[in-house]
């Protein structure tokens, strides 16, 4: 059996190079291979998820020309949201880059539980397959929104996608939660217990802090979704009334459910849903810190303040979920609490922003592709964050709720910010993954297309939302909304540009894997621990245990005008 293939003699040397194709590339225990596997799976799911958006954007710009029924439309937006959040951003940023970076940056040989790590990946594969398969069952995929609010999600006959499609959606999400939780346990155990000699907590790169914090957030908030999903499944298939209210009429028939409360589901969903934003955004910010420091050739400004701000954001992120539900029915005093606590998040976020920008102060910046994406991330956090101020204010949210203002805002945060960080990380660590660098020209083209495309799409959507354009509509026919809806062709054209740019990335990624220019051990002259390992590093990362002797960002140090020092240097 390929899995038990063992190299006893290699073990003594530290490097373990499984020689069989299956044990090396498919059922590998190596965190770096597993990280790349996640990235490739995310690429495939990204094509599907983003492809859906191209389809429904076509419908929005030129109604009736996309070969799309209203049922297709709601299914496409539901599945686009689900796939992009859970199977693209989570898998690429959290699982993919997280797996790749964590042991390398803390000086461990692998994750604490390599077998569990492999199982996490091979658990998510059937999850992704089930999610995709749900398109092809009777009635199509889930269509009740990525939030899966009951009763649409709880009554199998409520809408075409509420039947088998919704069941498969729940199953795939359950698999995702199991896989992600196992991954989170591994992350925390690895970071807490497996750090190399000298790698104290306050010497960890900020990337590691963000993965640590987001794993803790995930472990504390996903159980709420698990509980909600169990109750939803019982409502769907066990005849209970946790979320299904009395006197519900479906196709002219009175349902037998009594007393359930759909609002409860919303609370439970957003108790996960809001921390999930930070689970995905924080690691992107962490990666940006590393990339900024390396290319500004300056230590991160306010390392301790940033770590403090990250923890503050994580804590506040867990107690503000209600701001997603201002108009769902809420005691005004409670609304005030959620408003104020949400606005307080601005403070630590502003602190992070200052530290990000301060790192650039008087720097001689190297404008390579990872750096451009890191700078793009700062812009996306800032632009998206401003919209958040309006949405956090309950009174303003009464108008903005469920409009394209919200769509534009959260895409800038959870979409553009996360993906900018992901791309910065992929371009930055690609040499460590494959021993080759990605093509710079294609990379810059990818950046410009992504930056221009996404910013036009999502900033314009803010204005469309202010103009009263509500989300989840198949077509805008009312007179009052026509001026806002007239911008749809423009938005769609730039959405195509953004999508097309990702194709450039995919070509670059797979082409460079085999034909990119050979990279040295430390092509960016960076200081953190992963750059002391070979490019690419074998299974086990180092032959000798690395010993950490300094802070992660030792730029501006070093003798002979070199101007930087590795974390392992004396």
């Amino acid at each position: 059996m390929a899995l038990t293939h063992s190299h006893g003699t290699d073990a003594a040397h530290g490097h373990d190079h499984p020689s069989g194709f299956w044990s090396k590339y498919i059922f590998s225990f190596d965190h770096k291979v597993i990280g790349v596997q996640y990235l490739i799976l995310a690429c495939i799911m990204g094509l599907i998820g983003a492809g859906l958006s191209v389809w429904f954007r076509t419908q929005l710009a030129w109604p009736g020309k996309a070969g799309m029924s209203p049922e297709n439309y709601v299914m496409a937006v539901t599945m686009h949201g689900t796939i992009m959040i859970f199977f693209v951003v989570s898998l690429s940023l959290s699982s993919g880059l997280g797996n790749f970076c964590i042991p390398l940056q803390i000086g461990a040989r692998d994750m604490a539980y390599p077998l569990l790590n492999m199982l996490s990946f091979w658990t998510i594969v059937p999850g992704a397959a089930i999610m995709v398969a749900s398109f092809f069952v009777e009635g199509g995929g889930a269509a009740g929104g990525w939030t899966s609010y009951p009763p649409l999600s709880a009554l199998p006959k409520a809408a075409p996608g509420s039947g088998t499609g919704q069941t498969l959606w729940l199953l795939a999400m359950a698999i995702f939660v199991v896989s992600f939780t196992l991954g989170g346990l591994n992350y925390v155990a690895t970071i807490l217990n497996l750090r190399a000699r000298g790698m104290t907590l306050m010497r960890m790169p900020i990337t590691i802090w963000t993965y640590f914090i987001s794993a803790v957030l995930g472990l504390l908030s996903f159980p709420a979704l698990t509980a909600a999903a169990i109750m939803l499944l019982l409502d769907r298939h066990g005849g209970t009334s946790f979320f299904l209210p009395s006197k519900l009429i479906l196709s002219g028939q009175l349902q037998t459910n009594t007393g359930g409360t759909p609002l409860l589901f919303q609370h439970l969903f957003w108790f996960l849903g809001h921390p999930e934003v930070y689970i995905l955004v924080l690691p992107a910010v962490g990666i940006a810190f590393d990339v900024l420091a390396a290319n500004a050739r300056r230590p991160v400004m306010g390392y301790k303040a940033s770590v403090f701000a990250l923890w503050a954001i994580a804590f506040l992120g867990m107690i503000v979920w209600g701001h997603h539900m201002f108009i769902s029915g809420m005691n005004p005093y409670l609304g005030k609490y959620f408003s104020i606590s949400t606005l307080i998040i601005t403070a630590p976020f502003a602190l992070l922003g200052v530290c990000l920008l301060g790192t650039l102060w008087r720097a001689r910046i190297r404008f390579n592709t990872p750096m451009l994406f890191a700078l793009g991330l700062i812009s996306a956090v800032g632009t998206g964050g401003i919209g958040g101020l309006f949405l956090a204010t309950a009174t303003a949210d009464l108008h903005f709720h469920d409009t394209y203002f919200v769509v534009g805002h959260f895409h800038l945060m959870i979409g553009v910010t996360s993906l900018m960080g992901t791309f910065a990380g992929i371009y930055y660590w690609f040499p460590k993954m494959f021993g080759r660098t990605m093509n710079e020209t294609l990379g810059k083209l990818h950046f410009v297309g992504t930056m221009v495309g996404t910013f036009v799409v999502f900033t314009v959507q803010h204005f469309q939302g202010m103009g009263g354009m509500t989300r989840r509509y198949y077509e805008y026919v009312n007179e009052y909304v026509k001026p806002a809806a007239a911008l749809n062709p423009l938005v769609t054209i730039f959405a195509f540009i953004a999508f097309g740019s990702q194709l450039i990335f995919l070509v670059n990624f797979f082409w460079s894997m085999f034909a990119g220019a050979k990279a040295s051990k430390n092509p960016w002259e960076a200081t953190t621990l992963e750059w002391t390992a070979e490019s690419p590093a074998g299974h086990g990362n180092w032959n000798e245990p690395p010993v950490v002797r300094g802070d992660p960002y030792r730029y501006g140090e070093g003798a002979d005008g070199k101007g930087w020092k590795l974390q392992t240097d004396a």
Binding site: L192, P223, F242
Partner: protein
């Protein structure tokens, strides 16, 4: 498969000067995190319970008496688990007793469900009965995981600490008292 994993674990860096304590400390971290996650799960159910009981169709039922016998078994099993952890020489005996008591509790649960069913109480007959079946089942799943872990620990008794197993087992006991108290008091 497991062989390879074990081989890997032994190849992580070792030494007293590792700032995080090394691989041997990781199990403790994981058990702690799992308990934290499970606490969040039961907290969510409890919060949902408190919200839902205010609405129509609550129809409270009481737990069958056998559940309280089961509670006694679980409390006793926590004591024997502690003995297993502290008295290395007779660890196997006490571990075996703990597993036995756990299985007895589980059998008691099955009997409790049977009695509830026989008296016409199903998951869909009322909101409270839905919670009764759901919470006891979710707890039973956590207990079953604990029994599996203890069986593994029994097979390798004498090697390594039982601290993690004990922490999880005490947690399932505490979670049961929590669940039973919520279902009875509110």
């Amino acid at each position: 498969m497991l062989m390879k994993s074990d081989a890997w674990e032994s190849r992580a860096w070792e030494g007293d000067d590792l700032p995080g304590g090394g691989r041997s400390e990781a199990n403790r971290t994981v058990v702690f995190l799992m308990i934290a996650g499970a606490v969040m799960l039961f907290t969510t159910f409890t919060a949902s319970y408190l919200v839902r009981r205010e609405a129509a169709g609550w129809g409270k039922v009481s737990l069958p008496a056998i559940c309280w016998v089961g509670t006694a078994f679980l409390v006793a099993s926590s004591v024997t688990m502690e003995l297993a952890r502290r008295k290395t020489a007779s660890a196997r005996l006490w571990l075996g007793t703990t597993i036995g008591l756990g299985v007895l509790f589980a059998l008691g649960q099955v009997e409790a469900w049977r009695q509830l069913r026989a008296s016409g109480v199903t998951a869909s007959s009322g909101a409270h009965s839905g919670f009764v079946y759901m919470l006891t089942s979710v707890h039973a799943a956590h207990l079953a995981a604990g029994i599996v872990v203890l069986v593994v620990a029994l097979r390798r008794a004498g090697r390594g600490s039982l601290g993690g197993c004990a922490a999880w087992w005490h947690f399932t006991g505490a979670a049961w008292i929590w669940v039973a108290a919520v279902l009875t008091v509110f």
